[in-house]
């Protein structure tokens, strides 16, 4: 079990006494609309989540009051912008319980964070004959950067297989670890299946072989408390937009000893200390990896989103979503011809399924007419689709603001789909 209670994530804001989903919903302006004449029911949260009013307001506030470039000028606005930007870094540090704010690198998202590690750490440490160990449930963004590295370096990609439930096959991971393995990269929670991997145990095992581990936390972060020190992961990558923060801002956590030894990812402003035409001296971490003017307002928005999550409480959110998932799973079993794809014992709030006679795109279009937004497709996990021998699935993914009533509308919609197409 990797859900770690982290006392330090509880900020100065008081945690709400009870989980009041109606009050949470009222914090999200976009949910107050109708789609095709029906109240919007947004169940595509694994693709991206909506933003609470406080985050939207925070972005406006930066542009209206505190906007300037960071780490540059001596003028007041620049100092304010820098304080807000660096304040967000400290919030992230607390939220994931990193040892130092120097270990928090701001990037565009999970994809960029993984690419950074593959190119910088991988480029310097992984060569011909080495192995990179991933799993069969990875998102394309935790496959392709490593394949690109393999092509450049002559390293080999090895893959931990999954079983019919969508869980990693116990024992296979250790079997595939060897002294050739130079890094392990795996998802904390699968976007296509919902599987939560036993990452703490896997990290401990990898460390016995001296192998560093990168966790793709894009899906896990919105759903559970994450403590990078308790997990002892070497890198943790995640995106703001899936956890109620703005799109275009993400984080790479990396242990300082790794980040310090790694070469820069991109060259430019802010990542250097001194430049001459003969040689440039690079800035210290994390700035060494933050070339160019960052997405300042979005970064501040991320900090505010983390405050918001703290105010609700990650453990309360996890409990609410588990309740939704359990109810949705039970109800889905009553629908004839529905097959769940991903039935792991330890699972996040994702319901991926196929109907015997109806293609996911037709399901998606009919549900849209009922106001229900779901994802239909391969979810950027084509190897997962191949394993289950389906061209695509329909995926309902839940968030902190979804309700049991919405699950009922989804299930009624699926019955309608079967009536129409059956």
């Amino acid at each position: 079990m990797t859900v770690v209670t982290n006392q330090q994530t509880v900020s100065s804001q008081a945690v709400r006494a009870t989980y009041d989903v109606a009050s949470i919903r009222s914090d999200f302006p976009i949910l107050e609309q109708s789609v095709r004449g029906k109240p919007l029911i947004y169940l595509d949260n694994a693709a991206t989540s909506h933003k609470p009013r406080v985050v939207i307001d925070a972005i406006s506030h930066v542009y209206e009051h505190d906007y300037s470039n960071v780490h540059r000028g001596v003028h007041t606005l620049s100092e304010r912008a820098t304080a807000a930007y660096e304040g967000a870094r400290e919030k992230v540090r607390q939220f994931v319980n990193a040892k130092s704010e120097k270990e928090i690198v701001f990037l565009r998202g999970t994809t960029e964070a993984i690419n950074l590690v593959a190119q910088s750490y991988g480029g310097a440490n992984i060569g011909s004959g080495d192995e990179i160990l991933i799993t069969a449930m990875e998102h394309h963004s935790n496959i392709v950067p490593w394949q690109m590295l393999c092509e450049r370096s002559g390293a080999r990609l090895t893959v931990v297989p999954i079983n019919e439930s969508g869980e990693l096959i116990a024992g296979q991971f250790e079997q595939l670890l060897s002294n050739k393995t130079k890094i392990v990269a795996l998802s904390h929670m699968s976007n296509a299946l919902g599987t939560i991997n036993p990452v703490a145990e896997m990290i401990a095992l990898a460390h016995q072989y001296g192998v560093p581990v990168l966790l793709d936390g894009a899906q896990a972060m919105p759903h559970m408390s994450v403590d990078v020190q308790a997990l002892d992961c070497d890198f943790y990558a995640f995106s703001g937009h899936k956890m109620y923060a703005p799109a275009g801002i993400g984080v790479l956590y990396g242990k300082a000893q790794f980040l310090e030894a790694m070469p820069p990812y991109q060259g430019g402003g802010d990542m250097i200390r001194q430049v001459t035409f003969e040689k440039s001296e690079y800035n210290s971490i994390p700035y060494k990896f933050e070339a160019g003017t960052p997405s300042i307002a979005d970064t501040v928005g991320l900090g505010v989103a983390l405050d918001y999550l703290d105010s609700v409480g990650m453990d309360q959110i996890a409990a609410h979503e588990q309740h939704l998932l359990q109810y949705a799973t039970e109800q889905s079993e009553k629908i004839p011809g529905l097959k769940l794809i991903g039935t792991a014992e330890n699972k996040g709030a994702i319901l991926s399924f196929v109907l015997e006679t109806v293609h996911p795109h037709d399901i998606g279009t009919v549900l849209d007419h009922l106001g229900v937004a779901v994802r239909a497709g391969h979810h950027c996990a084509m190897p997962v689709m191949d394993f289950f021998e389906v061209p695509a699935t329909t995926r309902a993914s839940f968030a902190m603001y979804n309700t049991i009533d919405e699950v009922d509308v989804l299930m009624d919609g699926l019955k309608e789909v079967i009536k129409v197409f059956g």
Partner: protein, 150 residues
């Protein structure tokens, strides 16, 4: 079914989806092209037997959504005994219908394609309907590469 969904899913589409026409592997085909929309998961193989510039036989295999299946099934019926030039005209007509330029199309040209006119209101589904026709276009031009409309 919910009101305006009928515009998209007309009875003819359900019929072709449940019972696709010309759904077989053509052993003696002299044109064979794959169409694949990986994001949707729509996949088809189109087989043609072309003689003296005329399509004498057309069939397909594959799996996809109701719109893509009905579209290719209908197409294999419509292009029979048509010259390559005539199928090109059909393709253009089809293109106008699915992109909402159907006012440029004369009523008599529409024929069975009319049932697919509803997709113009569903931009995300246009590519489902057009996959068959772009695959046909490649087959006629003798392009071997897999076709996609995504």
């Amino acid at each position: 079914m919910m009101g305006d969904l009928r515009e998209l899913y007309q009875e003819v589409i359900f019929d072709h989806n449940r019972n696709p026409r010309n759904f077989y592997v053509m052993e003696d085909a002299n044109r064979k092209v794959e169409g694949f929309n990986p994001l949707c998961g729509d996949r088809l193989t189109l087989y043609l037997y072309v003689q003296d510039g005329v399509i004498k036989k057309a069939s397909f295999q594959g799996s996809g959504c109701a719109i893509s299946t009905a579209s290719v099934s209908l197409m294999t019926e419509m292009i029979l005994d048509k010259t390559e030039e005539q199928t090109q005209q059909l393709f253009e007509t089809f293109h106008k219908i699915t992109t909402g330029k159907d006012d440029e199309v004369k009523l008599e040209e529409l024929g069975k394609l009319q049932v697919l006119a509803g997709v113009k209101d569903y931009p995300a589904r246009v590519k489902c309907a057009t996959l068959a026709w772009h695959t046909l276009d490649a087959a006629i031009k003798n392009n071997a590469a897999t076709v996609t409309t995504e």
